[in-house]
């Protein structure tokens, strides 16, 4: 595949992520932080985010499985997840976390469970999309092209 075409595809794809609300402005800022001195910054942060989120999700699943649920702990986990997801601009996870925390406050177990499922789903979605994105970027790099910056014209 031609490099230019790949670049175009990447742009299209990135744009679709924004349109779907999977990512937001913050991700662009993250990309801006990446420069020559720190070429893999986005990937590093994102993988950190994945590791962190998976740990948190496991913790959450376990916490909600307990016969007596420690809502305070659940809340702090969700807070963490919300913080990190808003840091990388994973907007839909963040929104799900907001709802999650509301249920936590109400101590609504059913709500929490359904929110956990939703967060998990969103997480998988983001993970897939971002992995695809990075794969495309790597392909471009491998093909000798440069990664185009997102145009701010949508």
């Amino acid at each position: 595949m031609e490099v230019g075409q790949m670049q175009r595809r990447l742009l299209e794809y990135t744009k679709s992520l924004f349109m779907e609300g999977v990512l937001d402005n913050q991700f662009l800022q993250l990309q801006q932080l990446q420069d020559e001195s720190n070429p893999d910054f986005v990937a590093e942060v994102v993988s950190l985010f994945f590791a962190d989120s998976e740990r948190l999700l496991n913790d959450l699943t376990r916490a909600l499985d307990q016969p007596t649920i420690d809502f305070k702990m659940v809340d702090s986990h969700v807070h963490q997840l919300k913080g990190s997801s808003s840091s990388i601009g994973a907007e839909r996870i963040k929104n799900a976390c907001v709802a999650f925390r509301n249920f936590c406050e109400e101590q609504n177990i059913e709500g929490c469970m359904s929110c956990l499922q939703q967060v998990k789903q969103e997480y998988c979605l983001v993970k897939n999309k971002l992995e695809t994105l990075f794969r495309m970027e790597q392909q471009i790099v491998a093909a000798g092209g440069s990664i185009p910056m997102m145009e701010l014209s949508f």
Partner: protein, 989 residues
């Protein structure tokens, strides 16, 4: 009550007094009670109700008793009166009867003397039957009560025969059976003595020759009469012949004069004969009563009550007794017989109407009063109930108000989030390569977006104003730049409408002021927004002066207030009137308050003048009330929340100023407010050229030394134009007409600009100005007029500058026209990042966040500006690292962390710093060891995702210096960081 007291005045005085007393107690009790009512809780309501019911019933019972008593009293009075009347009537009749009887009796007595004189005293007798009859006949009027008189002579047994012979008839016996009509004229049996009637009046002539002693009553009578020597009456009996009730009065006739104390035997001895008068009581009494006027009203009965147990009716019918009767005794001169008269009313007593009506009246009044009390009590109860209801509603309304505020806060927060995205994107767009026009578009878009955010903030502000939580900042700002901004915000709208928009700021207003630019801008935006909403033609003109200027120079006022001399030529409302009510102006004369403070405090007076439809007079009073608009149609036509003016008023108040307006319908409104700011350029004037805002002065050098000529027939507009061009550093001259202009140009200067007069001028100019260097600019008000110009112009198209004039726009247009390079222009978005780089380069910064991802992102963000970043994940770790002495320049701290949160960590750090500083001060630690840092205070900024007032306050409480939102936003970061880090020395001016 009066009525009643009048009626019973004399007798009831005591009673009435008591009643009044009672009443008074009641009333005062009531008032106390009413008073008391308001302090009683709902719980006692039932008690009160029953209490009132009892009082009411008692009241009614009491008055019922009173009225009954009055009824009884009055009717007894009436009965008494009636009884008295009856008594007097009865007595009168009795007396008359008695008198007449006495008259008759006296006459009968006189007759007896006549008889004793002329019959017994003479021999032969001078009186015979004939004479007697005639005499008695003629003297009958003297004896009104007698129906007849007769004389009987005493005849002893021994004398009978002689007597019979002499008289020529035998003595006859009277019939013992009185009711037997048949007379037995048989001779009387032999008796001891006889008393035959010898003379008789015609009416009773049938009794002649009858023996009086043979009749039962007559005999008794005769015997008693001769024994007593007085007139004696019989019991009433049926008279002979007439068969009517009657009595007979008998007098004895004596032979000789007897002493008054003669014994009965002597009297009997001396008796000669007996004179009897017959009283026909029935007819006589009737005759008598007929002479009296009021005979009809009463019944009269006359009784002989000699035998008390068996009174003998002498007169009157025996009508059934109705209770009320009067007895008068009659004395007919016979001590043995007793008579009495009984009177009764013919009619029954009339209904005691007066008493009935009086008592009913009292009852009615009392029940009315009771009703009033009842109504009052009910009313009070109802009002109280309503009051509680209202309280309830009020509570609900307040709760709803709180809910509303919360809702507003939430919604505005939610809207702000996407708006921040839009604004961020625009920010980035500005960073890209854009030409001047594009840049202006973007800037306008950004300004509009910010205005939207500020509108949302306005709604939040209202909530804050309502809870009194609004805080004003005190930072330095450029007033002119702010007004340019606001102007550009409204320029699109004003161009669409063809309304001219202009700003004039007096030269004496300092470049930099210290105050709250956001709030100032908000006021201006509100006022201008209103103006532009309601103005369809003409202009909107914002002027800013120092208060001293306005007060001192009448010139300023007169110049601007003359009606024709306005920006667009339309008449305006005289703005002098808009500040009439201001306190600062009322205490003028000395005007000292401004002058004394003018060194470091700047008193601004800002007017926004429009030629719109004005505010209707009836709406002017409530113009500053929140959510109040002129009318419902206004909000439909123009939209808006209606809180702008009330917030403005509040803000002006907070800026120690006043706001006022004058408005003439269909001419326009002028809003004026004053505000007090700090003087930001008091330190050095050079500072003016080093604006943080890169607005006008960045380009000023390019135009330095140029000259411009402004041609405008309207001095105010020319003044505004001059003000804007001067800001670019261009010398300006103003002429009012074209001829002058041409001569000025002929003298050969670089020049520019004009009004939107016409192409005629351009043609003239072209004829004249061949090798002439100057550029021609037209100042156009709206797109349509500029197009008209360009189309008619044809050849040499002069540049058209759209109004409103703003220095950036002006500068850009000039640059384009004159070919001054675009490149020298500093790009807008670069400023914060560049400045941040300056500020943060080489700084050692600690970031504390338990979230790895956040930590990494924040670190990268700061590293981008050249800072040396250390990351830790725990608050505890941070406290260790920040134990003085240390080398950190700042710390960014997450608030919510496990184990030790940001607030706690900050508190610990501040504690440690405090201790350490104390030790330095005491000399325990030498300052030199730590790079001469005498006072450790590391700036700690909170990193938080939800930026709300409460969080901010808590940050400050726990010793933090500020906060940045997470993720970092360049401008905010710059603002916060610049507060702590002095600019790097070699770069600062």
């Amino acid at each position: 009550m009066n009525y009643e007291s009048k009626d019973t005045k004399t007798d009831l005085r005591g009673e009435v007094f008591k009643m009044w007393l009672n009443c008074w107690e009641r009333i005062s009790g009531n008032s106390y009670y009413i008073h008391h009512l308001y302090y009683q809780s709902i719980g006692s309501k039932r008690v009160r109700e029953t209490w009132w019911r009892k009082v009411l019933i008692t009241w009614l019972l009491f008055w019922t008793l009173v009225s009954l008593w009055i009824f009884w009293y009055m009717s007894s009075q009436a009965t008494e009166k009636r009884r008295e009347a009856l008594g007097s009537m009865c007595d009168e009749r009795a007396r008359m009867l008695q008198d007449q009887f006495n008259v008759s009796m006296n006459h009968v007595q006189a007759m007896s003397i006549l008889i004793s004189t002329f019959h017994h005293g003479k021999n032969p007798s001078a009186i015979d039957q004939m004479t007697f009859t005639r005499y008695t006949e003629r003297t009958a009027f003297e004896r009104p009560l007698t129906s007849g008189v007769a004389y009987a002579v005493r005849v002893l047994r021994s004398e009978r025969e002689e007597f019979e012979k002499q008289q020529g008839w035998t003595i006859k016996r009277m019939d013992t059976f009185e009711h037997n009509p048949v007379h037995k004229d048989e001779p009387s049996p032999i008796e001891e003595e006889y008393a035959p009637v010898i003379f008789a009046q015609d009416t009773v002539s049938h009794v002649i020759s009858l023996d009086m002693l043979s009749g039962k009553e007559d005999r008794e009578n005769v015997l008693r009469a001769r024994a007593s020597g007085k007139g004696v009456l019989t019991a009433p009996f049926r008279l002979l012949k007439t068969n009517r009730l009657g009595v007979i009065l008998t007098f004895a006739v004596y032979k000789r004069e007897l002493p008054s104390n003669a014994t009965p035997n002597e009297r009997i001895e001396a008796t000669d004969g007996y004179l009897g008068g017959i009283f026909d009581i029935e007819s006589l009494v009737e005759k008598l009563l007929q002479q009296l006027a009021s005979k009809q009203t009463i019944f009269v009965n006359v009784y002989d009550i000699t035998n008390l147990s068996q009174p003998i009716s002498m007169y009157g019918s025996n009508v059934s007794d109705d209770g009320l009767w009067h007895v008068s005794t009659l004395n007919f001169g016979d001590p043995f017989r007793k008579h009495e008269m009984r009177c009764r009313f013919k009619q029954k007593a009339p209904w005691p109407l007066l008493a009935i009506s009086t008592s009913i009246g009292i009852l009615v009044i009392a029940s009315l009063v009771g009703h009033i009390f009842q109504a009052t009590v009910n009313r009070i109860a109802k009002v109280e109930e309503d009051y509680h209801g209202m309280m309830e509603l009020k509570k609900k309304a307040e709760a709803a108000d709180v809910a509303k505020s919360q809702f507003l806060a939430t919604v505005s927060h939610e809207i702000r989030t996407p708006m921040n995205g839009v604004l961020g994107m625009l920010d980035m767009l500005m960073d890209t390569e854009l030409d001047v026009t594009q840049q202006d578009y973007v800037r306008t878009a950004q300004a509009s977006g910010k205005a939207l955010v500020s509108l949302i903030n306005e709604v939040l502000d209202q909530a804050k104003v309502e809870s009194g939580k609004l805080e004003l900042e005190a930072v330095s700002f450029n007033l002119r730049a702010i007004l340019d901004d606001v102007l550009s915000l409204f320029s699109g709208k004003s161009q669409d409408k063809g309304v001219e928009l202009a700003v004039y700021i007096s030269d004496r207003v300092p470049e930099t002021l210290i105050g709250d630019p956001g709030r100032f801008r908000q006021i201006i935006t509100n006022l201008m927004g209103n103006s532009i909403k309601f103005t369809e033609k003409g202009h909107i003109f914002v002027t800013v002066y120092l208060v001293e200027e306005v007060v001192d120079s009448i010139e300023v006022e007169t110049e601007l207030s003359s009606s024709k001399n306005t920006l667009s030529g339309y008449p305006v409302a005289d703005r002098c009137h808009s500040w009439k009510g201001f306190k600062t102006f009322n205490q003028d004369g000395s005007t000292s308050p401004f002058k004394s403070s003018s060194a470091d405090l700047i008193n601004l007076i800002v007017s926004v003048e429009d030629t719109g439809q004005g505010i209707p007079l009836e709406a002017q009073s409530r113009i500053f009330t929140p959510f109040m608009q002129v009318g419902p149609s206004i909000s439909r036509t123009h939209g808006g929340t209606g809180i702008g003016l009330s917030i403005s008023k509040y803000l002006v108040g907070r800026m120690k100023g006043e706001i006022g307006f004058v408005s003439i319908p269909n001419i326009g409104s002028t809003f004026t407010f004053t505000a007090v700011f700090g003087n930001g350029s008091s330190t050095s004037n050079e500072h003016n050229s080093q604006q943080m805002n890169n607005q006008p002065n960045s380009v000023s050098s390019e135009f330095q030394g140029m000259k411009a000529l402004v041609v405008d027939p309207r001095p105010i507009r020319a003044k505004v134009s001059r003000y804007h061009i001067q800001r670019l550093g261009i010398q300006v001259e103003v002429v009012s007409d074209l001829l002058q202009c041409l001569s000025q140009i002929a003298s050969g200067k670089v020049w520019e600009k004009d009004t939107s007069v016409s192409t005629l001028f351009v043609n003239n100019l072209r004829k004249l100005g061949c090798g002439f260097q100057s550029k021609l600019f037209l100042l156009a008000n709206s797109i349509s007029s500029s197009r008209a110009n360009t189309s008619t112009d044809g050849v040499s198209i002069p540049s058209v500058i759209m109004k409103p004039l703003r220095s950036s726009m002006l500068a850009a247009s000039l640059q384009r026209a004159m070919g001054v390079g675009n490149k020298g222009n500093i790009r807008n978005g670069e400023l914060p990042s560049m400045s941040l780089r300056h500020l943060l380069l080489g700084r050692k910064i600690l970031i504390v966040d338990d979230n790895n991802v956040n930590l990494k992102v924040a670190a990268a963000g700061l590293k981008r500006y050249g800072a040396a970043v250390v990351c830790v994940e725990r608050g505890k770790k941070a406290t260790e690292l920040l134990t003085p002495p240390h080398q950190f320049d700042a710390c960014f701290m997450d608030i919510q962390m496990p184990e030790m949160d940001g607030f706690e960590a900050t508190k610990i750090i501040r504690e440690m710093e405090h201790n350490f500083n104390n030790r330095i001060r005491r000399g325990e630690v030498s300052i030199e060891a730590y790079e001469n840092v005498s006072n450790f205070h590391v700036p700690i900024l909170a990193m938080t995702a939800d930026v709300i007032q409460a969080t901010y306050e808590e940050c400050l409480r726990s010793g933090m210096d500020g906060y940045v939102s997470k993720p970092f936003e360049a401008e905010q970061l710059y603002r916060e960081v610049s507060r702590f880090f002095p600019p790097i020395p070699d770069r600062s001016p």
